[in-house]
Amino acid sequence: MSWSRHEIAARAARDIPDGAYVNLGIGMPTLVADQVPAGKQFILHTENGMLGMGRAAAEDEIDPDLINAGKIYVTEEPGAAYFDHAESFGMIRGGHLSYCVIGAYQVSQDGDLANWRTTSSTVIPGVGGAMDLAAGTRHVFVAMDLFTRSGECKLVRSCSYPLTATRCVERVYTDHGVFEPAQKGFRVVELADGVAIEELRERSGLDLVDAVAA
């Protein structure tokens, strides 16, 4: 049984310590906000100029001046602060954000990340804050499905898609388990129930080192 998107998010949230300053990417990573373990508080950063971001706004809470980086209306937590883009990305680049959770097209065994464009020539390229977050955040977590819809593994020896940043990814949370780039392959930190490491080795062709805690 592979993990659901919510379970992937919950698994990532478990590895983020109490009091962490966290940036969550669009899509699956956003779900981490709903999976904060009891007893922990995360302070959420959105790169368009806010710390202390709250959940998505309900219909009657919408403030047209309050959106997140995905351009979704959001709310404000007590202790929030607004700032300009130089300050917001200074925080990121300066290593003040302790964690980010982002999506990916590919993660290589060197920790290289590809998540901003494919090689398709009919898609408009757009990078946003992805390169800054990947290069600047202290702990870069990726949350994604392990395989594409067409069955290709998104953990790779070397990225074929254009890079977002080199040697930046610390952990990858997927529907099949949790992985860590380990230069000559990946460390398998945890597997979803019923997922066999041998089967993953075969499907991915990767060197997977069993590091699942006994």
């Binding site: 700032f83 883009h85 990078v127 600047g136």
Partner: protein, 225 residues
Amino acid sequence: MTVDKVVPSAEAAVADIGDGATVMISGFGPPGQPDVLIQALLDSGVGDLTVINNNAGAGGKAISELFAAKRVRKVVCSFPKAIGSTVFDELYLAGEIELELVPQGTLAERIRAAGVGVAGFYTPTGYGTELAEGKEVRVFDGRPHVFERPLFADFALVRAHRADAHGNLVYRKTGRNFGPLMASAAEVTVVEAGEIVPVGTLDPEVVVTPGIYVDRVVLGTEEGR
């Protein structure tokens, strides 16, 4: 004379923006976007513009129209992809618009560098990616960094929440974004404010953009969009 930067109309405020000008436009998505000034720019008929705006075609209705009307020769931005709009996409894929894609934080820091008189800086962002191709790389403390130059403009069009006649500005929530940076990086900074208040009523402690950066202030709509 008492300093008074208030201009009677948006039309007058953008009248000297000519063909071929480089124009910064504040906003991240709709918040902080100067719709009234953009509309005046559109009405002025000016063209061949270089626009510096984080979201380009994805920034909202007003700025999309600038693209649709083919007034923009080149865009400098981090994220031009629009959800629910194909204006930019069609121009780009048809080769009718030039795109300089810049990582968002590098875009912000380059604009700030222009404002503060820094001639260049080294950032780790972008190293090893196609956006750093052709750029100088230098290693500091074992880590490769990319060299980036300041980004100036002839004009900045900035949306503020409140302004006074000195050009002191405050913003509202995530509408702040690029406004304070762009205000400092252009030859001429034109501000559209939701409200113009008497000099002395903005608390000096909370002014975000001091008036020194601002040349003209126009009363905008109460809501930015």
